[in-house]
Amino acid sequence: MSTVAFSLPPLSARAAASRGAERPRSLITLWMAGGPSQLETWDPHPGGLIGGPTQAIATSVPDLQIAAGLPLMAERMDRVSLIRSLVSKEGDHERGTYFVKTGYRPDPTVQHPAIGAVLPYQLDGEAIAAGLQMPLYVSIGNGQWPGRGGYLGEKFDAFRVPSPGRGVDNLRADVEATRNARRLAGLELLSGTFRQGREGHPAATRHSETVHDALSLMASEHLAAFEIDDEPKEVLARYGDSDFGRGCLVARRLVEVGVRSVEVTLGNFDSHAANFSIHDRLVGMLDPAMAALLDDLRERDLEASTMVLCIGEFGRTPWINPLDGRDHWPSGFSAVVAGGGMPAGRVIGHTDPEGGDKPTDPIPVQDLYATILSRFGIDPAVELMTPVGRPLAISDGKPIGKLMS
């Protein structure tokens, strides 16, 4: 009954030390906010009516080409699997983000949890009961809609780190220890006064719990994971001089101390005008950061235990509008998955080179989540009770055969 979700797994010492497949699994989601163009990233169709000026390059997987803006990832495609045929019915940013973060379409009667919140909810019960020190779900970068706990509760909302690599704001008390202790002692007395006669108000005790959780975080020995000052210049350079690159590096450090789920946002891909220059710039940040992250995870023997997912809320139209832009396109977009026990080198589906809305081998987003959950050892069909008394499956998708075998 004490504090929740704000804790480091009690096996932290072991977890931090253990390596290989034995280590508890973590998920790093590289969130491409605004809807990246599949044609300028993982699914180019150069030369035809729809391809625009984007060129394709060969990769380490025979017969697979990706956009020329991703040369570092092209050398590493044998270490990832690629889905080029995700389909959704949500073509609005907020609704699409909700759908792709939760695997459920927006529903006014219930708030679904993001996949990043489901993992600690399902896997870290013990740690949560022990109540310690670090958030289990962290959102890095200034995303507009960070992952939410939904019906699991606000306590499972992602902990936001808007400026990666510059630590976390508001973690230091501004007076010396004696005065701070005095302030906190007074707070205990006041909390007691307020509770008298109000024990029955359902959420009224949560205030003290969050204060307690905040104090543990302030005292956490793992706070250094949020900072990158001690990283060698060479490492910083490999991730690239961008907030997204620094965010990926922080994500790797957080996973190393046992954080279950991290989301790093890169945006804004919403290229209704000037699609190609926008993608040049953003893909130029994605390529080194993602490649460096995969390399680092492998070097540190964290590849088997850390799944990396690169995805956005939808793709962009095959046709190019008069402003040289591409508009929203939920019927055929891409995602990359790597590590965490996923097979590598698999390629599923592709969009129509002529611009049709029927990709081959279409994959509903919820099937991707059912696959990820299964790889974390969670049965996606397990039902959780929502506050309105309606049981809901964690995911209503089916694991993707090509990624499960």
């Binding site: 004490s2 504090t3 704000f6 019915k89 529903d107 006014p108 009667t109 109540g131 958030p135 606000e154 306590k155 909302d157 902990f159 936001r160 808007p162 704001d169 508001n170 973690l171 230091r172 008390a173 501004d174 007076v175 220890a177 004696t178 005065r179 202790a181 005095r182 302030r183 906190l184 002692a185 007074g186 707070l187 205990e188 006041l190 909390s191 007691g192 006064t193 307020f194 509770r195 008298q196 006669g197 109000r198 024990e199 029955g200 108000h201 359902p202 959420a203 009224a204 005790t205 205030h207 003290s208 719990e209 969050t210 204060v211 307690h212 959780d213 905040a214 104090l215 975080l217 302030m218």
Partner: protein, 600 residues
């Protein structure tokens, strides 16, 4: 770095100057017309037969009817309601509800100087006449109708829409008229601000009938039909065809260089298939066909239908929303519905001899008053549930009487039984609910706690400047729930961190010449007085005897005993903190106490 800071400051200054020229000047004029703080109607309503006396007795009759409905429920359920809260607690609730801030020390002094009889209603009236009410409620109504988005650029001016709402609320224009203007008005979004309701839905140059229909039903009728956009509603009785028929009322609206227009020749084409198939749909209503007038544009007809006195959903939804703004929790959240503000169940046909629910009593009163929002808010504020304490005496209280520790989170002794006994009281409004304050209320309260004088729209420019900058930083870190601000929430760790260590609180309590902490430090003759001042400043109440004793004498010893491994331990005792520093520490503690961030 320094250059960009200077530039930012310059831009902010310009922004404030612009905001001031736009809003403070009209606000000044408005405040001349309104009852200003210096001219409270101390003797208003005392003379028999005066219009004010007649009005007051009409108010009392309405309050009596509402209270009777609650009293009957409590009797039927066998509930003993909580005792009455003290006047300062109710003043704090009123101030938070109507002005989104705690009362200032100055206001508390004025309030306490008035005769007790009728004092709370006089203050409710004066607060409704204060521009702070109009500004705060305008934001709430703007969220209900267009959300928090700032897009689409060029055709949508949220600021104009909100300023227009503030004017309607300040003038207390009949609410049904206001809603009809929002739904049906034509013209430019700059010159006719109500048209921004239509333009907020624009994508690719065209207003979205579906979005407008969904918003209208939520904000005006208190129900969600958005899910009927794709399938029949799982709970309420809405069909997909109902949704399309309603959306078709917005099917003739279009944008032109002259603004929002209705083109009678346009036919609403609804999406009916996954491949983009469309079908022409007639404007229809799902019930109450008789309320739909024969003439007018299709939007005017929908507006008339929505606000027809026979359409009980309208008044019920409005009183439910206003109740939520006063209590932090909608009337529908209690028994028998347990529903969100946007999920109000369908009204049932009233039977003559059956007792009416408080919701229907209040809705009837709202219709009878000619949709008078100020009257409605005064009735709710004067009702028995609003006056009740949020605490009840219980067995658990005895156990807790020692004021045991809670920061460590381990001693919360609330067993299942305390909650079980308590729930029926909450469900039937026999105890005042404890609810989290909205972020704007928290910010407003922190800023108010930094000043002994009232911070309002007439405050000096420098204060407004600081408020402008601080609020925005704080909002970003604290998080803003957007459209869903009336849903129940608990607190989060980042919120606790920003309260404990954030810049806003630090600047609020810093003992500098502008802040209350240094003024309280100077003005207090002794420790006890200092403690009392700080409590009034931050919590709008006096300390209990135990708190008074603790904070004026025992605090230092308690602190040094619990100080964690202080490196100075064993060396000479430190000099006592100055009065301003003591006020600073106490205000930090009070601002971080649960009582500060909860409505209670």
């Amino acid at each position: 770095m320094a250059r960009s800071t200077t530039l930012t400051l310059l831009l902010i200054t310009l922004g404030v100057g612009w905001a001031v020229s736009r809003s403070v000047l009209p606000a000044r004029q408005a405040s001349v017309a309104a009852t200003s703080r210096g001219q409270r109607p101390l003797d208003g309503g005392r003379e028999a037969d005066s219009p004010a006396a007649v009005e007051t007795s009409a108010l009392q009759a309405a309050v009596d009817r509402l209270d009777a409905a609650f009293a009957e429920t409590w009797m039927n359920e066998g509930l003993e309601p909580a005792t009455e809260a003290d006047d300062l607690t109710i003043l704090r609730r009123l101030s938070l509800a109507l002005h989104a801030t705690i009362p200032s020390l100055e206001e508390i002094r004025q309030f306490e100087a008035e005769p007790r009889e009728g004092r709370l209603d006089r203050w409710a009236q004066a607060m409704l006449a204060d521009r702070r009410f109009a500004e705060s409620f305008a934001e709430r109504m703007t969220r209900a109708f267009v959300g928090t988005q700032g897009e689409p650029f060029l055709v949508f001016r949220r600021d104009r829409f909100k300023a227009w709402w503030a004017d309607q609320l300040a003038a207390n224009r009949p609410y049904d008229e206001v809603v009809r203007e929002v739904i049906a008005s034509q013209g430019l979004w700059t010159g006719r601000p109500a048209t921004n309701f239509v333009t907020h839905s624009v994508t690719d140059g065209t207003p979205s009938p579906e979005k407008l229909a969904g918003r209208t039903v939520r904000a005006v009728l208190g129900q969600r039909i958005d899910c009927a956009e794709c399938h029949d509603h799982p709970f309420a009785d809405w069909k997909q065809s109902d949704f399309r028929g309603l959306a078709a009322h917005f099917g003739q609206v279009r944008l032109s260089p002259f603004g929002v227009e209705d083109d009678p020749a346009r036919v609403f084409l609804a999406d009916i298939g996954p491949r983009g198939q469309k079908r022409g749909v007639q404007a229809e209503v799902p019930f109450g066909e008789a309320w739909l007038p024969d003439t007018g544009t299709s939007r005017e007809r929908l507006a008339a239908w929505s606000t027809d006195p026979r359409n009980r959903r309208f008044a019920r939804a409005t009183v439910n929303r206003m109740w939520a703004l006063l209590f932090g929790r909608p009337l529908s959240a209690g028994a028998p519905w347990y529903a969100d503000v946007d999920d109000l169940p369908d009204p049932t046909e009233p039977t003559s001899d059956e007792a009416r629910s408080p919701l229907d009593v209040l809705a009837d009163e709202f219709v009878a008053s000619g949709y008078d929002l100020h009257h409605l808010l005064r009735v709710i504020a004067a009702s028995r549930p609003f006056q009740l304490s949020s605490a009840v005496a219980s067995a658990a209280v005895e156990e807790e009487a020692g004021g045991s520790a809670s920061v460590d989170g381990t001693s919360s002794a609330h067993g299942g039984s305390a909650e079980a006994d308590f729930q029926p009281l909450l469900d039937h409004w026999a105890v005042f609910p404890v609810e989290r304050l909205r972020v704007d209320q928290v910010v407003g309260s922190m800023l108010q706690a930094s000043s002994v004088r009232t911070i309002d729209l007439n405050s000096a420019l420098v204060t407004r400047f600081l408020r402008f900058v601080r609020e925005n930083d704080f909002l970003r870190e604290y998080g803003d729930p957007g459209d869903d601000e009336l849903l129940a929430r608990s607190g989060t760790v980042p919120q606790a961190l920003v309260r404990m260590n954030g810049k806003l609180v630090r600047e609020t309590i810093e003992p500098n010449p502008f802040n209350a902490t240094s003024r309280v430090g100077l003005a207090s003759l002794d420790d006890e007085q200092l403690v009392e001042h700080c409590f009034l400043l931050c919590l709008s109440r006096r300390p209990t005897p135990a708190e008074r004793a603790y904070f004026s004498t025992a605090w230092d010893e308690a602190a040094s005993a619990s100080a964690p491994d202080d490196s100075d331990a064993g060396s000479e005792p430190k000099p006592r903190l100055s009065a301003a520093q003591r006020a600073q520490d106490l205000c930090w503690t009070l601002i971080n106490a649960p009582e500060f961030s909860w409505n209670h």
